[in-house]
């Protein structure tokens, strides 16, 4: 541990030194990109190819490097995988707003599961406190902080990435760093994103978040089960978003937000499976989608009992 600290200090002082020279290229290289220990890792970071273009061997190498970096940056042992999408699976989500009580357990479970920077306050889920009688989002309260929820005269509307079938964010990206996977999850290659944030501008659901600073997590709080396209530690200066807990759902688990929900308001499942609960909801309940008129075909529905 001590040795690691020393190395961390060395790394820091080297950064300061290079920064002091003011060679901007070198700074760009050292700041953020040079998170690894060895020059080889740093160069690997710099010249890494697009996820969809890498060979299985290259991906294996990258995953190992990500694990090494997690060790050196966070002091955490993680396992980074790239579990592929399963055949005949298309994920969808339905949320019962009659059951949602605004506890925000989903929000906090998501932060833990997905290794969000604890200081950066990034959250994939926003629970909007809405006054009864309207669906006007501008009347929502994003930062409600009561002793007790639910409040009288309010209902609660959690919003997260809708994994649109025709996602405007994907169209916006100038370098194709974000795309829809075959199972419907819109993912980001954090190692390819250039941080222009045009996707954030394009998203109608405010589902995309930027790493304005390097995300920091105490080592004991790092979730070690990670996915390349999901909850692995993110670098600074790139965009991230909800990915339906790809590290869990591709293994047949529920997303963390659904697991955490104490009221059973959340129903996640395979839209292609006629016997799935989500299909039952879509076929038997009155459902609606947020901003459906924008034509992005979201795969996230709301319903009431």
């Amino acid at each position: 541990m001590n040795k690691e600290n020393n190395e961390e200090n060395l790394n820091l002082s080297r950064r300061k030194f290079i920064g002091g020279i003011g060679a901007t290229g070198a700074v760009a290289l050292s700041a953020g990109a040079w998170g690894g220990k060895t020059l080889q890792d740093a160069l690997g970071d710099l010249f890494q190819d697009h996820y969809q273009r890498m060979t299985p061997e290259e991906i294996k190498e990258v995953l190992a490097r990500i694990e090494r970096k997690a060790k050196s940056d966070y002091g955490a042992e993680i396992k980074c995988e790239n579990t592929p999408p399963r055949e005949k699976v298309l994920f969808g989500y339905a949320l019962n707003i009659a059951k949602c009580k605004g506890y925000r357990d989903c929000v906090h479970a998501c932060v833990k599961e997905n290794n969000h920077g604890r200081d950066s306050q990034t959250q994939y889920i926003r629970v909007l406190e809405m006054p009864n009688g309207t669906t006007d989002l501008e009347k929502s309260d994003h930062y409600y902080n009561h002793e007790q929820v639910p409040q009288d005269g309010k209902y609660y509307l959690p919003v997260q990435c809708m994994q649109c079938a025709d996602p405007p964010c994907v169209k916006a990206c100038p370098v194709s760093a974000t795309w829809a996977e075959p199972d419907g999850i819109v993912v980001v290659d954090y190692d390819w994103c250039i941080g222009c944030r045009y996707c954030m501008t394009a998203c109608p659901y405010w589902a995309r978040h930027f790493n304005w600073t390097t995300p920091r997590i105490p080592p004991e709080e790092v979730n070690p089960q990670t996915h390349y396209l999901g909850n692995r530690p993110r670098p600074r200066g790139v965009v991230e978003k909800c990915h339906f807990c790809i590290q869990r759902t591709r293994k047949g688990l529920q997303p963390a937000c659904m697991d955490a929900c104490p009221t059973g308001a959340r129903i996640f499942g395979n839209l292609l499976d006629p016997k799935s609960e989500i299909r039952y909801v879509l076929e038997n309940k009155t459902v609606f989608r947020l901003k459906e008129e924008l034509g992005t075909d979201p795969k996230f529905w709301y319903f009431t009992d």
Binding site: R15, G19, G22, T24, V27, A28, L29, A31, G32, A33, L46, H50, R53, T122, R126, L128, D136, L137, E138, K139, S140, H142, V159, P168, K171, A172, C173, P174, V175, S176, A177, W192, C193, I194, G195, C196, R197, Y198, M200, T201, A202, C203, P204, Y205, W206, R208, H209, F210, N211, W212, T213, T214, P235, R236, G237, V238, V239, K291, L294, G295
Partner: protein, 411 residues
């Protein structure tokens, strides 16, 4: 090889000048370096040093980007009257205008570069080596048209100056078609930049077909205004002939453009406010504030007042003909359009957020510092290009003369 002499002599001319010229260059270099210092700070700490947030994810940098693309486009569009109406005296300023266009494109591109979270990954946008999402991404289109435009505005003046340097006339049939391409290209860069914003159906404030025409109209105000101011500088500090006719024609273009531009603003205000929908929230925030938050209000009202003052001056003929009042109009409308198209256009698109949150944005000292540094660099580049251009056009730097001098020297 005369081309080597051409480049060498041009560069030599760029750094030849009196005390005032050198002071000018040194102060511009100084300001650029000062801005670079802030950029180093931003690289070290990340974009957290800016006032931007997940809510307002583009700010002062992209605001300046939109403005300078307009300057770049409109300075070349001034070529149209020169050729269509055979206004010889305007042809003389064409080369200066193209120099200004080139500098403005570089400035615009730099504003995108400093806005990137990962400038070290810029190579990802290089086709084939990286992954360039063309033709789907409008930002990819923008990179392409800006790059092409920069090339055109370097290539044409390079060729014309080179011919003049070699004491021959440029072949009209060779370069004129390229000039025509550049004119269409100029409209395209600004249209594509407008599309970059109006393409977002999630942002009702920008999602209007009028945005493209508005961009073009306002560009025709700020571009000519800057040309008029620059021409007076050139007239004062060099022997380059700038006739009053050029300034008069340019001022007329500017007047018409400003009328159209303000008409468009009025059209937007009517459409948004007559039957006010939730889509008008951004424009209400911009002009009047929402829920007591109104940090953009002073900006937009300043812009509106400056533009109206400019319009009044420009529409009263004696005032437009008088240099003092014309200059006041040029400065006030340049600032007016800069605000209207920058802070007044980019930022309110993000307020309220698509989820109805009102989160304000104020640029930080780092953003101002970096931006001022980029302005200075742009002025520096333009100064150097104009210096060489004027010397070649006045016949002070010529191949024969230089070669003669060289031969004498070696003898």
């Amino acid at each position: 090889m005369p081309i080597i002499y051409f480049v060498r002599d041009s560069i030599r001319e760029m750094f030849r000048g009196g005390m005032v010229y050198w002071l000018w260059l040194i102060s511009l270099v100084g300001i650029t370096a000062w801005g670079l210092g802030y950029y180093v700070e931003q690289l070290e700490n990340g974009l957290v040093v800016t006032g931007m947030s997940d809510q307002v994810s583009w700010g002062f940098y992209l605001a300046n980007f939109a403005f300078f693309v307009g300057v770049a486009a409109s300075s070349v569009l001034l070529i149209i009257p020169a050729y269509i109406f055979h206004r010889v005296e305007i042809k003389r300023v064409v080369l200066i205008a193209e120099g200004m266009a080139a500098a403005a494109v570089i400035v615009a591109m730099l504003f995108v570069v400093v806005d990137l979270g990962r400038p070290d990954r810029m190579w990802h946008a290089i086709p084939f080596i990286g992954r360039f999402n063309f033709p789907i991404s409008i930002l990819a289109w923008d990179m392409l048209v800006l790059g092409g435009y920069l090339f055109l505005n370097v290539a044409i003046p390079f060729y014309v100056h080179y011919c003049h340097y070699c004491n021959r006339e440029p072949v009209f049939n060779f370069y004129f078609p390229v000039v025509i391409i550049a004119i269409f290209w100029a409209i395209s860069i600004h249209t594509v930049t407008a599309f970059m914003f109006s393409a977002n159906s999630a942002r009702p404030f920008w999602h209007t077909a009028l945005l493209g025409p508005r961009f073009i109209a306002s560009a025709f105000v700020s571009g000519p205004a800057l040309i008029i101011l620059t021409m007076q500088f050139i007239r004062r500090f060099t022997d380059y002939p700038v006739s009053q006719e050029v300034i008069k024609t340019t001022a007329l273009i500017m007047t018409v453009a400003l009328q159209i531009s303000l008409f468009f603003v009025g059209v937007e205000l009517f459409t948004d406010f007559y039957n006010e929908s939730t889509h008008a929230a951004s424009i209400r925030y911009l002009f009047f504030g929402l829920e007591g938050l109104d940090s953009l209000r002073p900006w937009i009202w300043t812009a509106l007042i400056l533009n109206v003052v400019g319009l009044i001056i420009l529409m009263i003929h004696p005032l437009r003909e008088k240099m003092l009042t014309l200059n006041i109009a040029c400065i006030s409308t340049t600032i007016g359009i800069w605000i209207e198209k920058g802070m007044g256009l980019v930022v309110p698109g993000f307020i309220p957020t698509p989820l109805g949150e009102i989160h304000e944005y104020t640029p930080t000292i780092v953003e101002y510092g970096i931006s001022i540094g980029i302005f200075a660099l742009g002025i520096l580049l333009f100064t150097l290009m104009a210096k060489a251009s004027i010397a070649i056009e006045l016949g002070k730097v010529r191949y024969q003369r230089v070669r003669g001098a060289n031969e004498q020297h070696t003898d």
